[in-house]
Amino acid sequence: DQQVKQNSPSLSVQEGRISILNCDYTNSMFDYFLWYKKYPAEGPTFLISISSIKDKNEDGRFTVFLNKSAKHLSLHIVPSQPGDSAVYFCAASENDKIIFGKGTRLHILP
């Protein structure tokens, strides 16, 4: 039973446009949400996080939105750049235990 779901295995976006990656969760006890980016043969790299008491957090080109009533969060990347091509993992935390989604592979097209 997946508590964190990323329903899109892959996404292709034109360079310069906005990339939107989505994530749904089922456990209302999650209190912290994170996005990680992973290149091949490397470990995941932390991108951005959001506490459950907020609905938006922004860091440069990356913005995470949290909709608690819908149990949904999204990561917006604008403008998208070639180096953004990677696998993105959504993760959620409850009591120091982090649950990851399966990831979405983002392709930035030239």
């Binding site: 990323q6 470990g43 995941p44 932390f46 993760a91 235990k97 990851f100 989604g101 399966k102």
Partner: protein, 113 residues
């Protein structure tokens, strides 16, 4: 400033054997978590060590055990290896609990023949 380092890189074992994976956390970090990532899946939490004790554990059998040393480095031991244990094993370090963003190593790819 060294990040998280893991060894060995790619051990190859046979069914029934035992393996020990090692992790050195990022400088200044005192908490180590271990994850298993199967092909096409996200990382799955195995357990977390803090102050040399196991604080949290995911849904993994007792064949998976660990240890944390006084210098905060950690080992993951897997006994009686099964074919299904073939995966990428990731170590992540943080400070004071996993809600601090974790820094991941590049992983150990374990192959079981």
């Amino acid at each position: 400033d060294a990040g998280v380092t893991q060894s060995p890189t790619h051990p190859i074992k046979t069914r029934g054997q035992q393996v020990t994976l090692r992790c050195s956390p990022k400088s200044g970090h005192d908490t180590v978590s271990w994850y298993q990532q199967a092909l096409g899946q996200g990382p799955q939490f195995i357990f977390q060590y803090y102050e040399e004790e196991e604080r949290q554990r995911g849904n993994f059998p007792d064949r998976f055990s660990g240890h944390q040393f006084p210098n905060y480095s950690s080992e993951l031991n897997v006994n009686a290896l099964l074919l299904g244990d073939s995966a990428l094993y990731l170590c992540a370090s943080s400070w004071g609990g996993s809600n601090q963003p974790q820094h991941f190593g590049d992983g150990t790819r374990l192959s079981i023949l």
